[in-house]
Symmetry: C2
Subunit: 69 residues, 2 copies
Amino acid sequence: MEAEFVFELPDAEILYRALKVEEKHVLTETQIDLIDGKLIIRIKAEDLAELRASVNAWLRTIKACLDVL
Amino acid sequence: MEAEFVFELPDAEILYRALKVEEKHVLTETQIDLIDGKLIIRIKAEDLAELRASVNAWLRTIKACLDVL
């Protein structure tokens, strides 16, 4: 199961630098890119429970970042 | 903001038929397709709050469907 998020935001680059360092420290396979000014997050999970947990964690982290920007 | 989910499941077609009828009845712009046996769900939201709500709702619905299959 896979999820891809595309964020077109004025702060995409700042978010990218903040999140990129987390990329290798999470259990679920995640790839974070900045392409044409868009923040792209790709998540690959083994099952739905893992996908939901990972998606929620990343969206919560992004919300926390946006709240302080 | 956009999210795309790709589900490669034995029950992808059953899930597709169950979810497709919901496609036009949700607030957030959502497109549901079955491509090469994979269930694809694309969500377009105006902001992060709307994206999170929609993503969580669809993933909960998919879990509910998988639980009864």
